[in-house]
């Protein structure tokens, strides 16, 4: 029996005992909220303070989540026993149904099961992957790297235009060869395709990696491993807008939901390569301004209040410029200077000058 399986059984037995003793069955769920996370100056990331909420079965506002969580635990135990893994989406599909003889659906949408899986991680102290639940493949990578994954040897530099698809669980990947000076991580697949087509990774001797929008756990873990185990600097390339800056922030300092995993996921010395307010001046990108909406402005103010941005002149300057412009600029706007401008001019120049923010 794996440790994760034992933890799930422990959880089940505790509930069972309470029922036998005539108590209201309960589970103790660590709380993740603005109130229980804090920025740890020494660790330089978000950490979760241990604070427990009791979830009861016989409580009108708890009962639904209670049953959902037990259902997810039962499913996870089954997966572990069978030696199979399931996708987050599959977990949702396995549980979505109407309770017989009622008009209640056990789950309404995937966010509910996702949330229960996180609760289960926290209660068992096991990672989602150890519970045999994965997220979808979420990004691509290319570079002079050779790895071993489930017995297969894979050369990241010889996988054609698609590159290697990053799985959600990178725990068991073995690095055979890492021949690169740094990693450029970007949020946009289209930019990654441009750079790959231009063979930037070869010319600059780096690894280029992308996700699709939000940085997933698999990517964060892979970046951290490359950084920690092979000493590669991580350079982040995102849009000049609050959401792009937020991606950088999560990557480096963690997020509220996954604060309990900060130590495993955060890349504490990640650098912000672009796009900066100064890039806009230097490369004359003002004509690509897209007006910010009110909620974007609100988001900037929220960022300005993050403990790692607050009082840091470098960051305050960037965010205040954004507010002043009342506009954002997307990475793709660089291609207005020529399709390969980003590969041949922007990136080499920035990297040569070490023109990044920290």
């Amino acid at each position: 029996m794996t440790k994760a399986e034992a933890e799930i059984e422990k959880l089940g037995k505790k509930i069972l005992n309470e029922i036998r003793e005539g108590k209201n069955p309960s589970m103790e769920v660590p709380i993740r909220s603005l109130g229980t996370i804090r920025y740890d100056e020494n660790k330089r990331c978000l950490v979760l303070e241990k604070k427990i909420a009791k979830r009861y079965f016989f409580n009108v506002s708890h009962i639904r989540k209670f049953v959902q969580t037990v259902a997810v635990a039962a499913l996870s135990k089954e997966l572990i026993e069978m030696g199979k893994t399931s996708h987050l989406r599959d977990v949702y599909y396995r549980l979505v149904r109407t309770i017989p003889g009622t008009n209640i659906d056990l789950v309404d949408d995937q966010s509910e099961t996702d949330r229960c899986i996180e609760d289960l991680e926290l209660m068992t102290g096991k990672l989602r992957e150890e519970l045999h639940i994965n997220a979808k493949k979420s990004g691509s990578v290319v570079g002079n790297v050779v790895i071993k994954d489930q017995g297969d040897v894979i050369d990241w530099s010889a996988l054609g235009s698609g590159g290697w698809s990053i799985p959600s669980n990178v725990e068991n990947i073995e690095f055979k060869k890492v021949d690169a000076d740094y990693v450029i991580y970007m949020e946009k697949e289209s930019v990654w395709e441009r750079l790959h087509e231009d063979r930037v990774w070869k010319k600059l001797n780096c690894i280029i990696m992308c996700s699709l929008g939000q940085t997933t756990r698999g990517i964060r873990r892979l970046l951290q491993r490359l950084n920690k185990e092979h000493g590669l600097p991580i350079l982040v390339l995102v849009d000049f807008d609050p959401w792009g800056y937020y991606i950088y922030s999560v990557l480096k300092y963690g997020s509220i939901n996954l604060a309990h995993l900060s130590e495993k996921l955060c890349v504490k010395n990640a650098k912000f390569l672009g796009i900066t307010a100064d890039d806009i001046e230097r490369y004359n990108l003002k004509k690509h301004f897209i007006r910010l909406k009110d909620r974007d402005i609100k988001r900037i103010d929220e960022l300005l209040n993050y403990p790692w941005f607050k009082g840091k002149k470098v960051w305050e300057r960037q965010l205040n410029m954004m507010k002043k412009f009342k506009a954002k600029v997307e990475i793709q706007s660089l291609s207005s200077r020529g399709l390969t401008f980003i590969s041949e001019r922007y990136l080499p120049e920035k990297i040569k000058n070490e023109d990044w923010l920290d």
Partner: protein
């Protein structure tokens, strides 16, 4: 005994004033249209019957029958078991306007002006040309008198078309009146049906039998066999008397001096107060009241309002009473919850009055908007709701604080509200007695009565809601129990039926010790 009452009543009956005016102003008396006319005729006859029975100490047993004769003609028959009327008085009571015993007597009764029934006779005569047919019997050993009467509208005098003895009247004593008139019969609101039903609600001591024009027969049986407390007559209080009434009183009084007129014909006026009034008016206390001219009377009336006097005695009122109101609402509406409140008597402009309210909720009441019934001296008021003090008072209340929602001021839901005002002198907004005038003292009392009922109904609704929520909570738990049992069984290997019965036992335990730990507030996390 009833004969004696009838004779006593006869003594008080006297000529009041002239009439032809009303022929041209029938709307003032409630005959504006055929629908309302039919209702008014029934109402005047029934009100008189109820008053007469109560006066004579008889439990009323009243028959109302309306026959559709075609071409908008109806024959209305109202028959009671009251004391009857001596034959000498019959022509004047039914055939002369403003003749009666009730006007200015200072006693709570349904009729107060002495025009109602004779106006009905006049209306019938004007629309169909048929005389009124009246049977009267004052005791079982007396013959039944039958009259066919018309009114000479020029002179305001009765014309006897026919008078005879007959044996066609079956009751031992009482009156039967038959009128043929043009009218229109409707159902539901503002109908005769509604009037009879509402009358039954506030007169549970009366038995009412009603035959509608469509042949349907309704019997409202008696639920109380005690007559209401008999109202005591009181003399008018100086604050409440109108100048016109004062003039008439002064002319007809037998008092020899203004001073004795004031102390003798009004309540709460002692010798000192009478002299004070005269002094303020500049009238000698010894002058003869019959000889005062209009100016002097006006001064006298004004000074009467200025002197400080005690409130009138309050024992002159005959409320319906909380018990009977509750009985009445229960019987006619079948609510699941009913409450009634009788306020202590109060005074407006020298007139004692008392407000009562009854409220029924749920059960057989299925309305979306509250049904509001207004009563004045036990008579239903069916018209001019929006002008009435009762409606205004109800609209002024913030119903949401009783868990009842409000739409354009009126409460909604399965609710029946009955408001009753008892008074020696009901301040109607017009002669047709349809709405109560908006005196602040009256509105305040109505509000207090209605609010007290609403509070109790609100508490009941809240209790009911709590029970429903409890049941819903229980059924929610029950729905999830098999699910938890199944998943927990998968994790632990324990038999799922055992888990199920364990959970069901817990639920039963919580149920029996009320509330339980089920809803304890905990620090369950919110989403980010």
């Amino acid at each position: 005994m009833t004969r004696r009452v009838a004779e006593e009543l006869a003594k008080k009956q006297r000529e009041i004033s002239v009439a032809e005016f009303f022929e041209k102003n029938r709307h003032l008396l409630g005959f504006d249209n055929p629908t309302k006319a039919l209702l008014t005729v029934v109402k005047e006859a029934v009100d008189n019957s109820l008053d007469a029975c109560e006066e004579a100490g008889i439990l009323p047993d009243i028959l109302v029958s309306i026959k559709d004769l075609g071409e908008d003609r109806f024959r209305v028959v109202v028959q009671d078991n009251g004391p009857g009327i001596v034959k000498e008085q019959i022509p004047k009571i039914f055939g002369k306007l403003l003749y009666g015993s009730k006007f200015g007597v200072g006693k709570q009764s349904r009729g107060q002006q002495g025009i109602g029934i004779s106006a009905a006779v006049l209306y019938a005569q004007l629309t169909t040309g048929k005389p009124a047919v009246i049977y009267s019997r004052t005791s079982p050993d007396r013959p039944v008198r039958l009259f066919h009467l018309r009114i000479d509208t020029g002179k305001n005098e009765p014309v006897i078309v026919k008078e005879e003895e007959t044996d066609r009247f079956v009751r031992e004593h009482g009156i039967r009146i038959e009128l043929e008139l043009l009218g229109k019969y409707v159902r539901r609101r503002q109908s005769v049906d509604e009037y009879v039903k509402e009358t039954a609600v506030v007169n549970p001591h009366a038995r009412l039998k009603y035959r509608a024009p469509d042949g349907k027969e309704f019997v409202f049986e008696r639920t109380a066999d005690q007559l209401p407390v008999r109202p005591k007559p009181i003399k008018p209080h100086p604050y409440g008397v109108e100048l016109g009434v004062l003039e008439r009183m002064a002319r007809f009084t037998s008092a020899r001096s203004v001073s004795s007129f004031l102390t003798g014909e009004f309540c709460r006026v002692g010798k000192g107060a009478a002299e004070e009034i005269c002094r303020l008016a500049g009238i000698k206390p010894s002058s003869k009241p019959q000889e005062l001219d209009h100016d002097q009377l006006t001064r006298l009336w004004k000074s009467m309002q200025k002197v400080k006097l005690m409130k009138p005695p309050l024992n002159c009122l005959s409320p319906i009473g909380e018990d009977l109101l509750i009985k009445g609402i229960k019987k006619e509406f079948g609510p699941e919850f009913v409450v009634a409140v009788s306020r202590p008597p109060s005074v407006y402009r020298g007139n004692p009055f008392q407000i009562e309210c009854a409220m029924g909720y749920g059960g057989d009441i299925k309305t979306e908007e509250a049904v509001i019934m207004r009563f004045a001296n036990k008579v239903p008021l069916l018209y001019q709701a929006s002008a009435c003090a009762m409606t205004k008072a109800i609209q002024k209340i913030n119903w949401s604080s009783y868990g009842i929602s409000q739409q354009s001021g009126m409460p909604t839901g399965p609710l029946v509200i009955a408001v009753h005002m008892a008074s020696v002198w009901i301040p109607y907004t017009s002669e047709s007695k349809e709405a109560i005038a908006n005196y602040p003292e009256i509105i305040k009392e109505i509000k207090l009565a209605v609010q007290e009922c609403a509070r109790k109904v609100g508490a009941y609704i809240r209790g009911k809601k709590r029970l429903m929520e409890k049941a819903m909570r229980k059924s929610l738990f029950e729905k999830y129990i098999p699910e938890l049992a199944e998943f927990l069984s998968l994790i632990t290997g324990e038999d799922k039926n055992k888990i199920k019965s364990g959970l069901e036992n817990y639920l039963r335990g919580v149920e029996s010790d009320e509330g339980g730990s089920g809803d304890r507030k905990t620090g369950e996390e919110n989403s980010e």
